[in-house]
């Protein structure tokens, strides 16, 4: 009976909210609509990440802090920073009302219906932070193009692109992860920087880093922007730095914020002398260059070429799995874009650099997960409703990025869901942005259109034709390889175009003068 009370309580809250939408708020309707869709996705397939998080609930609930980063009963050891561990700890106190058994460290792969319900609901509810962040981001989008039609307003389009983002839906609510509220933190910090509330933005980002360290990829963008726009309090008339306006006070307050957050997070482990252990868990360089499934980045193309050459006989052996150990630093150094001073004028420039950082790290980084493409796609949505050029890059990036997530859901019942949702998001995003920028030149040239259309036949081949061919037994990795390489082409192209746009677009200060 208990489970039904909880279900009823949760649904009553949403019912109350839905009555409020009778007042006609479109944003609330969109948010509630996607939340209801997430509830319908509860019985879908979930990956091993489900067990990962259940294990972390168990570890943080049942064991003292000193054991958290040493516990290894399960293969899914705690490898996120301490704030996430505290988050799981807080969740575990709610979890015990659902099913006490899930909090037992030895109950490996325990997944009763109540456990499933609790975990799924926890993701859905923590997404509330993401909804709030989207609301704040919409305020930063200027509605200069006065459209009376609601569906053509940039705010509306941005809300749909973010709230109903395909990647986030299937990674969080089917595959199972907690990216919603983390991206909420990131988008909120970006919104605060747009609103010139720099300290809050810095604080939020520092907190985010201690939730999930993957966001280190974009830390340079924050660092340089805050230095440039917050520590230097004034600009010369042409937009360049006024060197004598440097404010030490601001620099120190920023540093203090970051330091205090880090102290709160790592302090207990420093006291326990466990920092090396924590870092070894967070940065496992012993893993290979490529993940089990190749993220569609530069290394995937490199590996594929290598494999092809070795099969043909032009290579003596396949080097893909034997990349030298100094590659992490190679990945890192290639990952950071050249930091052009012009690209940091204004929050828009900062956003562009953030996306470039994320994308470059995706292209050349070490042991990149395919889900990391979301780190570039979501912030890019903010730029896409501003300029036609950005919209074009966003569409190529998001369509190929989202398609590259398809192999994550390989079960038959989920096949219609991923195809339908992908079509929904792709058709909506392309058409709405085309309508928004219909007075400017077309968003795609013939080459780009052809490439994007090619995703259809690729999907048909990989999912419907290939399984019935004789190659399935001999070369079972072909669909993954094809998907990875095809998407890598699109993502590389988007990365290149974005790089070019950073250096060729006129800086904000100069355009204002004209």
């Amino acid at each position: 009976m208990r489970i039904k009370w909880v279900e009823c309580a949760a649904l009553s809250v949403m019912a109350a909210l839905s009555v409020m939408t009778g007042g006609g708020s479109w944003f609330l309707a969109l948010a509630l609509g996607v939340t209801l869709l997430k509830c319908l996705l509860i019985p879908t397939y979930h990956s091993t990440d489900f067990e990962v998080h259940r294990n972390w609930l168990a570890i943080t609930h049942s064991l003292p802090i000193s054991q958290w980063y040493y516990e290894a009963t399960s293969e899914w050891t705690l490898d996120y920073p301490p704030f996430f561990a505290w988050f799981e700890y807080a969740l575990s106190h709610v979890a015990k009302y659902f099913d006490q058994e899930m909090l037992n460290v030895h109950n490996l792969n325990y997944s009763s219906s109540r456990t499933l319900l609790f975990q799924r609901f926890s993701v859905i509810f923590t997404d509330a932070l993401f909804v709030y962040a989207v609301h704040e981001c919409c305020k930063c989008v200027d509605g200069k193009k006065a459209c009376k039609e609601l569906t053509e307003k940039p705010k509306f389009i941005l809300s749909v692109l973010l709230l109903w983002n395909f990647g986030l839906l299937i990674v969080d609510h089917i595959h199972f992860q907690y990216n919603g509220f983390l991206f909420g933190l990131m988008l909120l910090s970006i919104a605060r920087l747009f609103q010139k509330r720099h300290m809050e933005g810095a604080f939020l980002f520092a907190v985010l880093l201690h939730f999930k360290h993957i966001y280190l990829y974009v830390a340079p963008a924050y660092g340089i922007y805050l230095l440039r726009s917050y520590c230097f309090t004034a600009n010369k008339p042409d937009g360049s730095i006024r060197w004598n306006s440097f404010s030490f006070v601001r620099l120190i307050s920023l540093g203090l914020t970051v330091f205090l957050v880090s102290a709160l997070s790592l302090g207990p482990f420093l006291a326990l002398n466990q920092l090396p252990q924590v870092f070894s868990r967070l940065f496992p360089f012993k893993r290979g260059l490529c993940h089990a499934y190749w993220a569609p980045n530069f290394w995937a193309v490199y590996n594929a070429l290598d494999k092809v050459l070795s099969v043909i006989g032009l290579n003596d052996k396949w080097f893909g799995s034997a990349v030298p150990t100094h590659s992490p630093s190679l990945g890192d150094s290639l990952g950071h874009p050249h930091l052009h001073p012009d690209c940091h004028i204004g929050p828009r420039g900062f956003l562009r650099c953030l996306i470039l950082c994320a994308l470059s790290s995706f292209m050349f980084g070490w042991h990149v997960h395919e889900k990391a493409i979301l780190l570039a796609i979501l912030p890019m949505s903010l730029l896409s409703v501003g300029k036609a050029g950005d919209a074009s890059i966003f569409l190529i990036l998001s369509t190929t990025g989202h398609y590259s997530l398809f192999p994550l859901l390989f079960t038959a019942p989920e096949l219609p869901i991923k195809i339908l949702l992908m079509l929904l998001f792709t058709i909506y995003s392309i058409s709405s942005l085309k309508t928004l920028f219909r007075k400017e030149k077309p968003l795609f040239n013939w080459m780009e259109t052809f490439y994007l259309l090619g995703l259809g036949p690729l999907e048909v081949f990989c999912e419907f034709v290939f399984p019935f061919t004789s190659w399935k037994l001999k070369y079972p990795f072909i669909p993954l390889l094809l998907t990875s390489v095809y998407c890598a082409v699109g993502i590389t192209y988007a990365w290149f175009k974005l790089y070019v746009s950073v250096f060729t677009d006129p800086p904000v200060g100069k355009t204002k003068k004209q």
Partner: protein, 504 residues
């Protein structure tokens, strides 16, 4: 149409909701020996594939009619045969004679769900989209919002994809909708053909037959009985006869065949009602045990008379003044009459009322939304039996949000908009202070929503007292009855409708 992409998005969303609901359990899952409607459908594929046509409706050693015997018209059987051919291609074990009884597997469930989705995609959804595109005097945005609300109607989704009453309600309702579209747009022959196919798919579509007949008759009268009207009448009659003949052809070879099919389709041996259904008979029987008081044949006559009396005014009006708008309202009226007063009505028959109500959604949004919510709620006991609480509540809320934001229903509760103007004017002649009808209606709505929520909570969390095991279902039926009767009073009175007469 402009903004085609929004319409496409709406259709894709509707399909996604349908498929995600279908991931849940189905009726009779894992419950031998009889299982449920899902097994019935699988069994029909087995029968139609393995046995010759002559044996489909007859009791024999291979075909035990007690175990989910065919009791729908031939078109359902042909459809089952088509699905059986596909099943045979994928996995013959699914429909092997006798040995496949109670067959349940993940792959088979996917196959069955997929057949429903494909049928929906080919028949029902295009009809809904076309209907919304053909609506007059509404902006494109409202047309798309209308389509969204109709496609999100929970009742049909939950029955076809959750409970799995795979009588493919979407097929019969879709064909009926094509019929309505054809007849409203002056493609009378095609429309009547589509409707005949609908009746031959599911005999319950006869609920809608009278309005079709009256509307087409009215059109013939308008054109003049001695000229074009007569020609039209003959053509329509020919179409109906031809379509029926085509569907029933294999059964006309012997008289016994046709009679047996009819006997299976109309089981008058069963009582006035079965189970707890939200119509007049069930509600009255709580106080007055009609089933015990009246003999069987009297029950049939009483039910027939009451049904006829309640739908006569609307049909007469439609014949005299045929118009597409009047036609839609008469469909609602007649279907509701049949549901409330007819014989052997099943809970799922509320869907036959819901479809016409969806068609008038753009004209009376408030009442239609209210009715559609209550109609979904009326099927709650059935859905709870199949463990579908979460999808039911979620889809209902989604539907409510869609309607509330699309039509701003709470703002449209003036007397004018509720079509109750003449009613309140006539009441004001006796009670001059009767100006607060809209407020009454709004309060009633809120009360009914709260009651529905409370009843749901109670049904789910508490066990009913032992003396009254069906307490909750009966309370549900009363609530629904009161709302539907209120709705009927708002529409059944022919003096209130002021639609423009049919013009050519």
């Amino acid at each position: 149409m402009e903004k085609w992409y929004l319409m496409t998005a709406v259709v894709l969303l509707g399909l996604t909701v349908r498929w995600t609901v279908s991931l849940n359990s189905y009726s009779g899952a894992g419950k031998p020996p009889m299982f449920g409607d899902y097994e019935a459908q699988r069994h029909w594929q087995e029968i139609t594939f393995n046995l010759p046509i002559k044996q489909w409706y007859f009791n024999s050693s291979d075909n035990n009619l007690q175990y989910w015997g065919l009791d729908y018209p031939p078109l359902t059987a042909y459809h089952s045969l088509l699905c059986a051919y596909v099943a045979q291609f994928i996995n013959p074990d699914w429909i092997a004679l006798h040995s496949s009884r109670g067959y349940e597997s993940q792959a088979h469930k996917l196959f069955m769900r997929a057949t429903v989705l494909i049928a929906d995609l080919l028949i029902y959804i295009p009809a809904v989209v076309l209907h919304c595109c053909c609506l007059k005097e509404i902006s494109t945005k409202k047309k798309i919002a209308n389509a969204l609300c109709i496609l999100l109607y929970p009742g049909l989704i939950l029955i076809d994809y959750g409970h799995f009453q795979i009588m493919y309600n979407s097929v019969s309702l879709g064909l009926a909708l094509w019929g309505v579209l054809g007849v409203s747009c002056d493609w009378d022959l095609l429309g009547s053909l589509a409707f005949c196919l609908a009746v031959n798919y599911k005999q319950m579509e006869l609920y809608h037959s009278l309005p079709f007949f009256c509307f087409l008759l009215g059109k013939c009268f308008k054109k003049g009985l001695k000229g074009k009207g007569f020609v039209l009448f003959v053509k329509l009659a020919g179409t109906v006869v031809a379509s029926f003949t085509l569907c029933w052809l294999p059964f006309f070879t012997e008289r016994a065949q046709a009679l047996q099919v009819l006997r299976r389709l109309f089981p008058v041996d069963r009582g006035l009602f079965e189970d707890k259904v939200a119509n007049i008979w069930c509600s009255v029987s709580v106080f007055l045990k009609i089933k015990d008081i009246l003999p069987h044949h009297v029950q049939i006559i009483v039910s027939f008379c009451l049904t006829l009396l309640s739908l006569l005014p609307a049909c007469v009006k439609l014949t005299l003044q045929p118009s597409p708008k009047g036609f839609r309202f008469t469909l609602v009226s007649c279907a509701l009459s049949f549901f409330l007063f007819s014989f052997q009505v099943h809970e799922k028959s509320i869907l036959l009322v819901s479809l016409p109500v969806c068609l008038v959604l753009s004209e009376i949004p408030f009442m239609s939304t209210w009715f559609l919510l209550v109609s979904t709620f009326s099927m709650l006991p059935l859905l709870l039996k199949d463990d579908l609480l979460m999808p039911s509540v979620v889809t209902t809320m989604a539907f409510f949000i869609a309607c509330a934001t699309s039509f701003s229903i709470f703002e449209k509760t003036s007397e004018e908009e509720l079509r109750l103007k003449s009613f309140s004017v006539s009441v004001r002649k006796h009670l001059p202070r009767f100006t607060f009808l809209p407020r009454i209606i709004q309060h009633l709505f809120i009360i009914s929503v709260i009651t529905m929520v409370l009843l749901t909570l109670m049904t789910v969390t508490l066990d009913p007292p032992q003396k009254l095991p069906d307490l909750f279902s009966v309370l549900d039926s009363w609530l629904i009855n009161s709302v539907t009767s209120l709705r009927k009073s708002g529409r059944g009175d022919p003096r209130q409708r002021e639609e423009a007469p049919f013009t050519r």
